[in-house]
């Protein structure tokens, strides 16, 4: 049972990293991206590739994953960020669909639907980390560092600029803020940090395939942020925990028909999104009840 709980905790940590990094752009920069899973995937595939071909060392694989995600996101963000809000959502959706096709077809890199199997355990200075609790500690440390980074950034002048852009782009422009650079930087940072989650995930599962990086994942991470509460630190963590625990909790309800559990889980999760948006759009941990973006 402990192993199972550890397993869940590791997955929660990984998704909490994703939610935190997505919250950084949704909550603070007002950039609604439906393509977060793409960078999760790039991180995962790159880390897997590096671990299998170069070295499974954490400080080699993870920076490589971050760099790959940062470069890709830079290439994509520059054109896409020129357009307005609704268009960016559509553009990110398009990017997500394109990426899934590429992930499925670029078999030498991703293994297609079959995925990458046999990813070695990650090493910290030469010591392999594979026991669940060790891995959990590592994931939690990564999460803590990422929370610290985003939290610090949000309280600097950079963070204020982000929030200013979120609240009124034209007024931010009129106050001399180079919003393209600021937005691009935040997208690149968020993608690079999401790649950390991807790397952790790949090492932990020792198997990854395109199905972990599809639109559903992007939507789920988005739901974690929205349900938990945007522009808060605790919100995305709570959202990640709730959404990850819900399926596991449901499988324990033995009176539910086995064949319907998948559906029930999805229905609960869809309904939660709807009801929260109607009654508490700021999310569960709303900094200012009633309001909210």
């Amino acid at each position: 049972m402990t192993a199972y709980i550890l397993n869940l905790l590791v997955l929660i940590s990984v998704y909490a990293i994703l939610a935190t990094t997505l919250n950084f752009i949704i909550g603070y920069a007002g950039i609604f991206s439906l393509a977060h899973a793409v960078f999760f995937g790039i991180g995962g595939y790159t880390a897997a590739l590096v671990a299998m071909n170069v070295s499974p060392e954490f400080f080699v694989a993870v920076p490589a994953a971050m760099a790959a995600a940062a470069v890709t996101s830079l290439l994509l963000a520059l054109p896409a960020l020129r357009v307005r809000g609704e268009y960016f959502v559509a553009a990110s959706l398009g990017l997500q669909v394109l990426a899934v096709t590429l992930f499925s077809e670029w078999k030498s890199f991703t293994g297609g639907i079959g995925g990458v199997i046999g990813i070695p355990a990650v090493e910290l200075f030469g010591f392999p980390v594979y026991k669940p609790w060790q891995f959990l500690v590592m994931a939690l440390i990564c999460l803590a560092i990422i929370i610290a980074i985003t939290r610090t950034l949000v309280h600097t002048s950079f963070g204020r600029s982000l929030k200013a852009i979120r609240d009124s782009e034209s007024a931010a422009l009129a106050s001399g803020k180079n919003i393209t650079v600021i937005k691009t930087f935040s997208v690149v940072l968020s993608s690079a940090l999401a790649a950390v989650a991807g790397a952790l995930y790949a090492f932990y599962m020792s198997f990854i395939n395109v199905e972990s990086f599809m639109l559903d994942t992007s939507v789920m991470v988005m739901a974690m942020v929205i349900i938990g509460g945007t522009a808060t630190i605790v919100g995305p963590l709570l959202g990640a925990a709730l959404l990850m625990l819900m399926p596991s909790a449901l499988t324990y309800l033995t009176f539910l028909p086995q064949t319907e559990i998948g559906s029930i889980q999805q229905i609960v999760y869809g309904l939660a999104m709807v009801l929260l948006m109607i009654f508490r759009p700021g999310g569960i941990v709303s900094s200012h009840p009633g309001g909210g973006k």
Binding site: M222, S263, M273
Partner: protein
Amino acid sequence: MLFLQLLANGLQVGAIYALTAAGFSLIFGSTKIFHFAHGATFAIAAYLFHFALAGLGLHWTFAVAVAALSAVVFGVLLDRLMYAPIQRHEGSFFTVFVASFGIGIVVQNLLGSVFGRGFMSVSTPLSNSIEVMPGLYLSPLNGLAVVVAIVCFVALHFFMTHTFIGKGLRALSENPELVRTFGLSPRRLSTYAFALGSLLVVPGAIFTAAGTGINPAVGHHVMLISLAATIVGGIGSLRGAACAGLLIGVAENLAMWKLGTQWSEAITFAILFFFIIFKPSGFFGRATVS
């Protein structure tokens, strides 16, 4: 010959996309609601058509009526029970989108639980192709889809230009304040937009049920296409959405000449990307000023 065949297939698929996209565009253009659950409306109409025809054994005219009624009721209920309360408290674009997405998930899984998760299709002799010329096979369904789409568009055009509600809807997309001063309620017009927009999915839903078959996730694909077509065509332009839907359908099929079907969604979104980057206002879109 293969080219002609693919073009013919593309036109049929495109006609269905065009209708569905026009519905989404109508709703989005006039109410500014990012109605992601439009795909759910499509799925509901398709399933209830199938159920009425195959399950209840009704005559096809009744089945069409059931599909149309269910689509309209679902669209209007969503508008009244979900979007209206959200919009009452500063419903940002994204709040609406998330709620709409949530409903899409709920509907997809409910349909799966009730009707089963496999593919279903209405068996009809109309889907059997006839060799009209050497190497070119067309089914009556192909032609029917195109004809119905044209009829729907002519009717829609007439409605939007000649009726009071149609004019109101067009005005709503230009300037909600103006609508209020003319004594029309944007809330009520929004209901009309949902009713009409949802009705437009019905032909597509029926042709899909009879042709390629449906599964609970069918709405998802249709939604992605509608979204892409709406932007490619220019937000708020029905004509644009229709042309873009047709373009996407044809492009998807022509691409099969050289590529496998797994590239079809990628092609749609490559087109979308191209437009977003180089011509964000779309085919017929008004200049967007931020």
